[in-house]
């Protein structure tokens, strides 16, 4: 029975209300009971003179004191999620912010607003918010709270308050500049290991993503051919007498296996493909986080080098360096903790996803086996009846 056990915040395919989640939560890394439950559902399209866009309903149920109410319902569009992500990245440059579904899907999707695309995006957005809610630090972020609770007009006015586009650009320029300068020189061993790990992981996860898509494609082509295969036997049975039943039996088996293949494919596209895609995005995010840590290191290093050259204004520099050293230490600790957490979750996700896929394949084969075995049983019964009637004088 998979419905209850797996109905946690990370399987958004079931329309679970936040209240029902209270009893079914599976502990990830926090021993205390969860006090924030979020669902993303009910996509609605809005058509204005300028544009067409989709909003999603975000329902929050909470027992936290910081929240004025225990229940919130707001509507958010993709842009709002993007805003939230960038605010979180700003506030916590060396924390691992969960991935958002991409703006556009490169392969296969023709229409931006077809149902499959919207549903995939909805699930991913649901996961995004829940991962933030589960994060020991991010869950208390102020922008996150506003995202969950503010009405539409409140949110837009809040958005306008933040650092403007120009200053954001300035940050990016500085970031690029300092990345050129390094931060690699004095990088602690631990982070070099992380970098090496991420490079390989990134490679492998991308290949896995491709393999999974390939498998899906091959299964679909097999399904398409199978659809035609069964009916030919039925057609044949129309010209036969003695073997008509056997032919119809085979036709029915093939049709059932065809349906089982469809389920197998669905399992792949609902379980494996989204997870692998998320971890492809995660690998980019992690590389970014490591880079940002290096930048902070780089800032410190360049200031230290500058101090070595300047004999005057030592005190001023020392204060600055002191601040940077603290900043670096914080960043390093935050990253280390988050890294460990991420690895744990990754392992868990991979274990459960691949187990699910295997379970799925198992069910597929068991269904097909049962179909053919029952056909065989029906045929051999007939044969025995025939043999008996032949023996009689």
């Amino acid at each position: 029975d998979t419905s209850l056990g797996e109905a946690n915040s990370f399987s958004p395919s079931m329309p679970i209300s936040p209240s029902s989640m209270i009893n079914q939560y599976k502990f990830e890394d926090e021993p205390e009971l969860r006090d924030l439950f979020i669902t993303v559902d009910d996509p609605e399209s809005h058509i204005t003179a300028i544009e067409t866009f989709i909003t999603y309903r975000v329902v929050t149920k909470t027992s936290r004191g910081e929240f004025d109410s225990s229940e919130y319902e707001v509507r958010r569009r993709y842009q709002d999620f993007l805003w939230l992500k960038s605010k979180l990245e700003e506030a916590h440059p060396t924390l691992i912010i969960p991935p958002l579904p991409e703006k556009f899907i490169m392969k296969g999707m023709v229409e931006r607003f077809n149902d499959e695309f919207i549903e995939t995006r909805r699930k991913a957005l649901h996961k995004f918010l829940n991962r933030i809610a589960d994060h020991p630090t991010l869950t208390f972020n102020e922008d996150f709270k506003i995202f969950l609770t503010a009405q539409a007009w409140e949110l837009s006015s809040h958005k306008k308050q933040g650092p403007g586009l120009l200053s954001r650009m300035g940050q990016t320029v500085r970031a690029v500049a300092s990345s050129v300068r390094g931060g690699v020189k004095n990088r602690p061993e631990m982070f070099t290991e992380m970098n090496d790990y991420m490079e390989t992981f990134s490679q492998k996860i991308n290949v896995l993503d491709k393999i999974a898509h390939r498998i899906y494609k091959e299964e679909r082509e097999y399904f398409n051919e199978m659809k035609e295969y069964g009916p030919i036997h039925t057609l044949w049975s129309a010209s036969e007498e003695d073997i008509a039943d056997s032919l119809k039996g085979v036709a029915s088996c093939i049709d059932k296996c065809c349906k089982a293949t469809e389920k197998r494919m669905a399992g792949l596209s609902e379980n494996l493909l989204p997870i692998l895609h998320e971890y492809v995005l995660y690998s980019e995010i992690l590389m970014g986080v490591l880079k940002r840590r290096d930048q902070i290191q780089g800032e410190l290093d360049s200031k230290v080098d500058a101090l070595a050259n300047k004999k005057t204004e030592k005190d001023l520099f020392s204060e600055e360096i002191g601040k940077l050293e603290d900043k670096l230490e914080c960043a390093n600790n935050a990253l280390k903790a988050d890294w460990d957490r991420w690895k744990q979750n990754m392992q868990c996700d991979m274990r459960s996803t691949f187990s699910n896929v295997a379970e799925n394949n198992l069910r597929y084969y068991e269904e097909c086996l049962a179909t053919w075995e029952s056909f065989l049983a029906s045929q051999t019964v007939d044969l025995h009846v025939e043999e008996d009637s032949e023996d009689r004088p």
């Binding site: 090496d196 790990y197 390989t200 992981f201 492998k204 290949v207 896995l208 393999i211 390939r214 498998i215 091959e218 299964e219 082509e221 097999y222 398409n224 051919e225 199978m226 035609e228 295969y229 030919i232 036997h233 057609l235 044949w236 010209s239 003695d242 073997i243 056997s246 032919l247 039996g249 085979v250 088996c253 296996c257 392992q347 991979m350 274990r351 691949f354 187990s355 295997a358 379970e359 394949n361 198992l362 597929y364 084969y365 068991e366 097909c368 086996l369 053919w372 075995e373 056909f375 065989l376 045929q379 051999t380 044969l383």
Partner: protein, 402 residues
């Protein structure tokens, strides 16, 4: 069932060998020769085994044998030969006649052909067939000496008869339709089966890609490493398993193919009936018109328009002596014609009787064989599912330990 050759003699086509030689135009050619081994089935007492006789034959000699049998026994549904060229191939199979897998399947098909003939109550008694199995040299000359090629009906004649025959036995007309349907539906089935096989191959082989990636990924993981590595190994096993599965399925396809070709043999018997029936109808028509001519000459009345009648009107009546002579000739012809018609009628009825008997025998054989084939297909699917379950279970265990 009478004691047929198959019960007295063990027949196998045990080997295939590539040969080079010179053909009729003295050009070098490569062909495959097949070794036919025969051994008398004697009551094996005290472990005594009869000696094995063997000789080599090539495909064209099998074709010659079959042509001879088809012409000599037109009322029999003659077993078909395996295909001359590889048809209904999917991408992994070769369409090359020299491909070892094709040769191997052809070897089995040729053995099957010989066994079919040897277990046929009528065909197994044929001397030419017996010599094919036992006499290496001079067999071709022996076949040609029977002059069977002369007995063969021309295609044109047969086609003409098919269109013009007025009263064929309804059962043969139905049988012809059935054989058309059978041919069409089996062709279609084989084509789609080949495509399904192709796709299935793709699904399995792509899973093989997991193996290497998992292995490389496991190198950077501490806790997950073992699980990934062993799961990858199982994926490799899974991917490799499809080769044997599809090879087995080829034998199933060959069983269907045999009946695809049998459809042609059925049609040949129907055509022969139509030809004989048409011949009979033409002979009866000819006899009727001669009788009419005779009557007109005897009574002097011209009932139907005839050129003779016109010319006699234009050029004057014939003398009574001339008329007498003509009548006599016609009466002789009529008598001959009636005897011929009687013989043809008898021939026709015999043909229908013996052909239909063989067709009933064939129907039983076909129903039995095809049902067995479908059952064996189900068995293959079951085996494939069980193998799949086994491997996936093992992989699942590995994943759960990650």
């Amino acid at each position: 069932m009478e004691d047929c050759l198959a019960k007295k003699m063990e027949i196998t086509v045990s080997e295939a060998e590539k040969r080079t030689g010179r053909n009729a135009m003295n050009m070098q050619e490569t062909y495959t020769a097949y070794l036919i081994e025969t051994r008398a089935v004697e009551s094996q007492s005290e472990g005594q085994c009869a000696p094995v006789d063997s000789l080599w034959r090539r495909y064209s000699e099998f074709e010659l044998l079959r042509n001879y049998l088809s012409v000599t026994y037109p009322h029999i549904v003659v077993p078909p030969l395996p295909e001359k060229r590889a048809d209904f191939v999917w991408h992994k199979l070769s369409a090359d006649n020299m491909d070892p897998d094709f040769v191997e399947r052809r070897r089995i098909g040729l053995e099957n052909f010989l066994l079919r003939v040897a277990s046929h109550p009528v065909l197994c008694q044929d001397k030419i067939f017996y010599s094919f199995l036992t006499q290496e040299g001079g067999w071709k000359e022996m076949v040609n000496e029977t002059g069977f090629q002369l007995k063969a009906d021309s295609r044109v004649k047969a086609l003409n008869a098919t269109f013009r025959v007025k009263n064929p036995d309804k059962r043969f007309t139905e049988l012809k339709h059935y054989s058309d349907e059978l041919q069409s539906v089996i062709s279609h089935l084989l084509r789609v089966r080949a495509r399904v096989a192709d796709r299935l191959y793709g699904v399995y082989k792509v899973h093989g890609n997991y193996g290497r990636v998992f292995s490389e990924w496991s190198a950077i993981e501490k806790e997950m490493g073992d699980g990934l590595q062993s799961a990858g190994h199982h994926m490799d096993v899974y991917a490799a398993s499809i080769d044997d599965i599809l090879e087995e399925e080829e034998h199933y396809a060959d069983q269907l193919k045999e009946y695809l070709f049998y459809a042609e043999a059925l049609r040949a018997v129907c055509r022969k009936h139509e030809l004989m029936q048409y011949d009979l109808e033409m002979a009866a028509q000819d006899l009727t018109s001669k009788k009419q001519q005779c009557e007109e000459l005897a009574t002097g009345t011209v009932r139907t328009f005839s050129l003779k009648g016109m010319t006699s009107k234009l050029f004057g009546q014939e003398t009574p002596e001339q008329r007498e002579a003509k009548i006599k000739v016609l009466e002789e012809q009529i008598q001959e014609g009636e005897e011929q018609l009687k013989a043809k009628n008898l021939e026709g009825r015999d043909f229908v009787k013996s052909a239909w008997a063989d067709i009933e025998r064939f129907k039983e054989q076909k129903n039995h064989d095809l049902k067995e084939a479908l059952i064996s297909y189900a068995v293959m699917q079951i085996s494939m599912c069980k193998k799949g379950i086994q491997v996936v279970c093992l992989a699942k265990e590995c994943f759960s330990k990650m």
